[in-house]
């Protein structure tokens, strides 16, 4: 790595890419760099640091939209929205601590690049569902845009969806417009104690299938948690409805108030409740909710030391495994079984990430299609080469 190039605005960003293209230089594209250990290790010629292109361009609370530049820290965005009683409904996780760095360092665009969403994914959608539009530079050194600032827009292909979750491999983002929503007045949680994984996930799925508008459904250790948000009378009524619905589980029930709830769900969001030792391998699995306990049980049958918890009603599994040279990737991916899903290696030493697929391997036809899509944006493979492996 021969150094870092740090453009100060969109014009310099485009110039930087054009220069790299002409010189045949590959770029490690970074915002805050808080997720740089996530993905396949890369050997790039230069770091392209976009953290200097930062700041909110326009925030229109009554339009439910904020436009900001790529380097804008997530915590600044969240603080600004909170002043107007709004939020990023997809609840982006802060994986800083889990990844061995500091908390609160990431950018909003970084969260979008990984399509990371927290517990409210179930009710409010993924990061990609909130990206209304973007502008950036493709691998041909061209400034381009897609989408816009309005809620409904089907003009042309929805490239925002492709960009979200692309790990910076398609284009370097300069600016994004993101949908925001009103923050709830109250956040309360119903905790059920002592259910095993299977009964817990059954309870979560029953709650999700009820009209009680649950916005978080997790099972951590022997605690099964359901989050209810909104105006006070509604929250009260729905909590009562959930208690009645789940009385047959026989579980002891407890309620958490707003502050305790926020702390609990932050722990779930950031996978802090996984309580992984510092050298543990960490995986994140997505599967059909009812399959969750089976997936974990298959893994535990082979790796009894595995630690796991469930979010998304059982459909998201955070998993910690003892260190190994191959991250037990075959065990983990086989455990998904015929019902399907995907497993992402979130944390492992560089040598391990170099040796095994970090992202879920795809069928040959799909992998070839993905490669053609990558080339349609970045024909010379300038951006984050090999990161999605």
């Amino acid at each position: 790595m021969s150094g870092t190039i740090k453009p100060r605005d969109a014009g310099e960003l485009r110039q930087a890419v054009e220069w790299a293209l002409n010189e045949g230089i590959t770029l490690d594209v970074r915002g805050a760099g808080s997720k740089r250990t996530l993905g396949k290790p890369m050997a790039c010629d230069q770091v392209l640091d976009v953290s200097g292109i930062a700041g909110v361009v326009d925030y229109a609370p009554e339009e439910l939209v904020i436009t900001l530049r790529a380097g804008t820290p997530l915590r600044e965005v969240e603080a600004l929205l909170a002043q107007r009683n709004q939020m990023l409904a997809f609840e982006p996780p802060d994986l800083g601590s889990l990844l061995g760095g500091a908390a609160g360092e990431g950018t909003l665009v970084g969260a979008l690049m990984g399509n990371f969403a927290g517990p409210r994914r179930l009710a409010a959608g993924a990061a990609r569902d909130h990206l209304l539009g973007f502008s950036g530079v493709n691998g041909r050194g061209e400034a381009f845009k897609s989408g816009g600032r309005v809620m409904k827009n089907v003009t042309g292909y929805d490239l925002s969806k492709l960009i979200a979750g692309s790990w910076g491999t398609l284009a370097v983002i300069g600016e994004v417009s993101v949908k925001v929503l009103p923050a709830p007045d109250q956040t309360r949680t119903l905790l059920l104690h002592g259910l095993d994984d299977t009964r817990a996930v059954a309870a979560l799925c029953a709650a999700m299938g009820s009209p009680h508008e649950v916005s978080g459904a997790a099972h951590v250790g022997d605690r099964t948690a359901l989050r209810v948000e909104g105006v006070a009378p509604s929250v009260e009524a729905r909590l009562k409805g959930l208690r009645d619905l789940l009385v047959d589980t026989g579980a002891a029930m407890e309620e958490l108030g707003t502050l305790e709830s926020r702390a609990f769900w932050k722990g779930v969001r950031d996978a802090a409740v996984l309580d992984a030792s510092t050298d543990a391998i960490v995986w994140r699995l997505s599967c059909p909710p009812t399959e969750g306990p089976r997936v974990v049980s298959r893994i535990r049958s082979q790796r009894p030391a595995a630690k796991a918890f469930y979010d998304w009603s059982g459909g998201l599994i955070w998993l910690a495994l003892p260190p190994s040279s191959d991250a037990d990737h075959a065990v983990v991916r086989a455990a998904l079984g015929p019902a399907g899903g995907h497993a992402t290696l979130i944390r492992a030493p560089e040598a391990v990430r170099a040796a095994v697929p970090v992202f879920q391997p795809q069928s040959a036809a799909l992998a070839a299609l993905a490669r053609r899509v990558k080339e349609s944006f970045d024909p010379k493979g300038l951006f984050n080469p090999g990161r999605m492996g």
């Binding site: 061209e142 509604s234 009812t290």
Partner: protein, 495 residues
């Protein structure tokens, strides 16, 4: 409306192409006589008609795969069609292209209540999905006005919305997975019953790609539990501006209604005459605001919305007393388009999207345009998310009116883009807005989109003539001239 010139070589090979299709799809699945093809000559943008080369109606994935592989190998164009309810000409036939109708894929394959999803074939109607699960208290959220007829496959192609997408999202926010056939004949699956497909979000890309990238053969949709209570509030205002202000004020107060629709005076009259929903005939602007959720929450929100509306000068304020009345309030709205047919021989429904805060000025400017083009315009639209549906009234048999309608429509859509909106909120570009794409996108923006198209369909065989105003060959788009050492080391901070 200019379509690409027909390829005489393909027209000359028609018999051979028909025979090849018959070898893939037996019996009545291939239609090549004029009378038989007539029902397919247009979609819901019926001002434009064109007979296809031949119609093929496969009923297995293998047949779809074989048809597309044949088309790829023989460079034959193909236009996919669901129920043919596109309002933008998305499934309008092309004279030298096969029309691939997916209507026989009409089965619900699996309903999984625990995982809250359903796996259906693409020809199942939008309403058919909700009907299949309503006894268990579930539904499928996107509800375009054509839901009784439109197909789920078409909804995926167009990323269809509806009156409830303000709160519950468009098609793209309610899909879990699809199976699709590529032009090569390869069958791929994206997503499934789990969330977030992994890899590039090709599912998100496919949704709203207007049939230009692949043919969907199976769809896994997310099911939602029906809200415990839903009430609709009718709010009548003495001015359009008052109604539009109220929309912005409700959203600004932190309320996201299940739906928030607006109708202007002409729309109110037509709908009332057609359905008798009890709309206030003295109002210049009418809002239908639906609030759903637990009963106590709905009561709370109804009171707040009423208060906001009265503060904005509402002269009518009626809350639905029961489910029957709620459905009646909506019946007028849902029938508004056909109802407008009472006062004009033809109408075209536009679909621009604008920031909510600019609604008042956009509506006023549209009235001025109406005078200039000497054509009436009626507005019925999804006010909550700024998605306009101006209906321009005209007589299709009068060539001058047809021309003025096209110009008026283009002016409205340019206005939408100018105030920071979009050419289309939910109907798609199709052929209707194709030539206006340059208003919203630069040539570079469009070239990037076309390159994505090339990744799926390098010969531009799938749904040709749609979306892009000017087609460029993929080889030309892919060319990259690297100018070594031409750019001086740019003056950018380095470390």
């Amino acid at each position: 409306m200019q379509m690409p010139p027909l390829d005489p070589a393909i027209l000359g090979r028609r018999e051979e192409i028909v025979a090849a299709l018959r070898a893939i799809v037996p019996g009545e699945g291939v239609i090549d006589d004029l009378d038989g093809m007539r029902p397919y000559e247009c979609d819901a943008l019926s001002a434009y008609r064109q007979m296809p080369l031949v119609v093929v109606l496969p009923d297995t994935v293998e047949q779809v795969s074989a048809i597309l592989r044949y088309c790829q190998d023989n460079k034959v164009k193909v236009v996919p069609r669901g129920a043919g309810t596109s309002l933008s000409g998305g499934s309008m036939p092309v004279g030298d292209a096969i029309l691939l109708g997916m209507g026989k894929f009409n089965r619900v394959l699996e309903i999984d209540y625990s995982n809250r999803c359903a796996r259906v074939q693409p020809g199942v109607t939008n309403l058919g999905v909700s009907k299949a699960v309503e006894n268990e208290g579930f539904y499928y959220a996107p509800d375009p006005s054509s839901q009784i007829a439109c197909s789920i496959g078409g909804n995926v192609a167009e990323n269809s919305g509806g009156v409830h997408c303000l709160k519950y999202g468009l098609t793209t926010n309610n899909l879990l997975g699809i199976e699709m056939v590529l032009m090569t004949g390869e069958v791929v699956r994206l997503g499934g019953k789990h969330l977030d497909a992994g890899g590039y979000d090709l599912l998100g890309l496919m949704t709203g790609s207007e049939g230009l990238l692949g043919v969907v053969t199976e769809v896994t949709v997310r099911l939602l539990r029906k809200p415990a209570t839903a009430r609709a509030v009718l709010l009548g205002f003495p001015t359009e501006a008052g109604a539009a202000d109220c929309v912005a004020a409700v959203i600004a107060s932190g309320i996201i209604p299940g739906g928030m629709e607006m109708m202007d005076k002409d729309a109110i009259k037509c709908a009332e005459n057609y359905v008798g929903a009890g709309y206030p005939l003295d109002a210049e602007g009418l809002l239908i605001v639906e609030l759903d959720g637990p009963e106590v929450e709905v009561d709370h929100l109804v009171a707040r919305v009423e208060e906001i509306a009265r503060g904005r000068g509402a002269t009518t304020c009626r809350v639905s007393r029961d489910e029957q009345e709620r459905l009646l309030f909506w019946a007028g709205r849902k029938a508004a388009f056909p109802a407008v047919g009472q006062i004009s021989p033809d109408y075209v429904c536009l679909d621009g999207s604008v920031p909510r805060g600019r609604l008042v000025e956009v509506l006023a400017e549209m009235r001025e345009m109406s005078k200039k083009h000497r054509l009436r315009v009626v507005n019925v639209f999804h006010a909550g998310d700024g998605n306009l549906h101006p209906l321009i009234l005209f007589d299709a048999n009068d060539p001058d009116e047809l021309r003025r309608m096209e110009e008026f429509g283009a002016d409205i859509l340019r206005l939408c883009v100018r105030v920071g909106g979009a050419l289309t909120g939910e109907h798609g570009v199709g052929i209707e807005k194709r030539d206006l794409m340059g208003e919203q996108f630069t040539e570079i923006d469009l070239d990037q989109q076309m390159r994505v198209k090339c990744a799926f369909d390098p010969d531009h065989l799938l749904n040709p003539g749609k979306v892009f105003p000017k087609l460029r060959r993929c080889a030309e788009l892919g060319r990259l001239v690297v100018q070594q050492n031409r750019i001086p080391f740019p003056d950018i901070p380095r470390f």
